[in-house]
């Protein structure tokens, strides 16, 4: 196997948690608010089944081919040529996704905190840092996630406790003013986030406690859903209708905190911790891209790919959009019309699962691998 390190199912769950939520916690409330208004807290609940489904399908596929990642079993299921083709599609989607994530990170830091710093430096530093971690291997990523999560979660709780004096439950009312439709539309927006859980198929083969893989995968979806619900409720309790004025309401909430005159304007600290979470997210996708490419090319070690791939992605991320309008256009087309995350997170695995099922049960083909 290409990856020698192993992680525990819990670490996998934590990695997935950050991979989904690190950026989500900032942008989801505002994006969803545009359609769902004061019902934004319902949307994550409605969208979560998609996350559970993604994890379950990845798990099912992993049951068929316990030691392989999607790059390998797509070859077994579809044959070498079509398997490679599918792998290429997957890689291209993931690489664009990753580049856009790096861009998003750079854009947010530059626009909110360091307006005069060149974006290329901010992105470049993060690429180097992620390359360093990815080079360390999956075990290092697992450990980092284990360390970042408590801090991330603690901060989340602290922010919530600190804004509590200012919340007004009334702002949530009326629930479902315009029926279920707005929140459903919000859920549709959220699908792009929940479908990302599909990339768990890259981690399932490397678990020490394989039998717990499904459990912790599901738990991860559940915790993400709960975190989003709580975030959205807090945001709506705090800001109500004003939410739409903010780009990142949770950050604005931390800006709004004022306790005993001393604890105020915490957004810089929140941003620092958010960077830690985003770092894990970027590492997860970076790792997935690197190991996917290595497997696609049948390399014996993926570490030699880390730096070249980092360079490629860094340049992509720096050049991908010229202005925010282009970015908006990209998100409109790729995320909401093509739904790239849905394609690689859900549709491809479903397709593979159906083909594998047909081959295994209906045609009784013994496609079990010797390896």
């Amino acid at each position: 196997m290409i990856e020698k390190g192993k992680i525990s199912a819990l670490q996998m769950g934590l990695l997935m948690y950050h991979a989904i939520l690190a950026t989500g916690i900032l942008f989801i409330p505002a994006t969803v608010f545009n359609v769902a208004k004061q019902d934004i807290w319902i949307s994550p609940i409605l969208a979560s089944p998609l996350g559970f489904l993604s994890v379950y399908i990845a798990y099912k596929l992993n049951k068929y081919y316990p030691k392989d990642t999607i790059m390998q079993y797509s070859k077994h299921i579809l044959g070498t040529f079509w398997g490679k083709m599918l792998g290429l599609l997957l890689l291209l989607l993931l690489i664009t996704s990753l580049s856009v994530m790096f861009w998003q990170y750079g854009e947010y830091v530059v626009s909110e905190f360091l307006p005069h710093t060149p974006k290329s430096v901010i992105i470049g530093m993060m690429v180097i840092l992620c390359a360093f971690a990815v080079h360390g291997g999956l075990e290092v990523l697992g450990r980092l996630a284990g360390m970042v999560f408590p801090v991330f979660f603690l901060l989340f709780l602290v922010i919530i406790i600190l804004v509590l004096p200012d919340v007004e439950v009334k702002r949530m009312l009326p629930v479902m003013e315009n029926g279920l439709m707005p929140s459903l539309k919000g859920a549709w927006v959220l699908c792009t986030w929940f479908a990302q859980f599909g990339i768990i198929y890259f981690f399932l083969p490397f678990l020490t406690d394989r039998e717990k893989g499904l459990k912790f995968g599901m738990l991860s979806v559940l915790v993400v859903t709960l975190t989003l619900v709580v975030t959205n409720i807090i945001v709506i309790w705090l800001f109500g209708n004003v939410t739409e004025n903010f780009n990142a309401p949770f950050m604005s909430a931390s800006r709004y905190i004022s306790l005993a005159e001393f604890l105020s304007h915490l957004e810089s600290i929140v941003m620092a911790i958010w960077i830690a979470g985003t770092f894990i997210k970027l590492c997860v996708f970076y790792y997935v891209v690197v190991i996917g490419t290595a497997e696609w090319l049948n390399l014996s070690d993926y570490r030699s790919l880390v730096l070249p791939m980092g360079f490629l992605i860094g340049v992509f991320a720096m050049q991908v959009f010229l202005n925010s309008a282009e970015a908006a256009e990209h998100f409109r087309i790729v995320s909401h019309e093509i739904m790239d995350t849905l394609v690689y997170g859900l549709l491809i695995p479903i397709f593979l699962l159906i083909v594998a099922y047909i081959r295994k049960t209906i045609f009784k083909h013994k496609v079990r691998r010797t390896n």
Partner: protein, 518 residues
Amino acid sequence: MFFRKKIKFNKNINKKQQDDKQIPKPLFSNLEKNLDILRELYKECSDVVFRSFLIAGHTKAQLIYIKGLSNVEEMDNNVLTPLMKKSEKRTVNPKTLIEQTLSVAEVVKISSFEACIEQLSVGNPILLLEGDEQGFALGLAKWERRAIEEPTGELVVRGPREGFTEALEVNTSLLRRKIRSPQLKLKTLKLGRYTQTAIALAYIEDLADETLIEEINQRLKRIDIDGILESGYIEELIQDNPYTPFPQVLISERPDTAVSSLLEGRVVIIVDGTPFVMIAPTTFFSLFQSGEDYYHHFLISTATRWLRYLFCFISLLLPSLYVAVITYHQEMVPTTLLLTMVDSREVVPFPALVEALLMEITFEGLREAGLRLPKQVGAAVSIVGALVIGQAAVDAGLVSDHMVMVVAITGIASFTIPRYNLAIPIRLLRFPIMLLAGTFGLVGVMIGLLAIMTHLSTLRSFGVPYLSPVAPMKGRDMKDALMRAPLWKLNTRPHLTGEYNKHRQGSNQKPHSDKGGE
């Protein structure tokens, strides 16, 4: 490439030199011949004494010892006096005479020159006889050694006041005094081409993982160096990652710390000639533990530990945070505080980053000066220090009041880390993070912190992940890392590598009024 070749070349030269000086192996029966060879070996060694005498007035014999390493008084009373007594019976075999009259506990028969040199070097006098291929090494070594004293580097309020000394035998005896079980094993080997330093590998059978002992043994055997003066030499040559500033072995001069590590299944490496023993494997969090933690109430110890973690962070980050906040995130400071900060910084000519660097470097210099200076001048340093980092610097308009506070708190914080070798990398890493803070504000601080965390995650100490039990998470071991659980709860050993003996005590140790004899 060039380097490597050169090293190889050197190696060859060394081998040749050794080969040239080959010593004949076994002793001859001719005393004169033996003496000639020994005299040649110890040519121009004024401290080696050759004393010839007649055993019982007839057999020629020679006593050889090194001045200052052997107990001359005992040699007089217990060796020379009985042996030189003229015997009536001329036919007495000198060998039996030695066995009968020599009142020395340790007499080792030696038959080679190598053994001669070895025994001489540790201070045992040797006795060679005419017409005998065997000599005797007498266990009369005695040299001046420091008495067992309180370790000055690791002071405790409560706990044993004895510390390791420079002598290996004393150190092993200190361990043996604490662990009476024969399962305490001590493997010794000699390292250093010239120093021939004795190294002892102490572990408890069944507790320490055998592969771990084997691994350490292998790493030690690989060492080929001319001399070992301190355990630091060995530390640098056996650690997993040679580039990291973080210590991968724990250094202690306290026998109780060493013993508690042994009981956790770790291995203690004792080097002759230094009071500092090495404990491996070591994790990041065990470097925050002090032996005293286990002698005080667990609540107090837990609180103390958290205080150390907090101050470790302060020591690493406070100057950076100050620089980041004052130059990038002014909005975080409450208005009133910001206004006073601004007022005090108004006259300072430097940017905050330069100011911080200046003060931190000054402080580090001051600390270094204080360490090396003779005690008589020490007072002068503290007076000057108070001037440099104090009101005088503020009045001179070089730094602001707040910066002085920051540096002072950072200084105090770095002293709270119980292990000096962990405090050093943290002090060192403070500077790159300060640069990052000066360039990117809190973003830079976080990036620096993440880089350090990533680096720590990649580290291993003798196969044990450096950040365990926190990352990877081992819930059971966390009770002695994030807190100090009460002793009756600490009933499992920390898991290091491989198989291990899990239970360290009876499971029902919690004191309770229902228990006991009443």
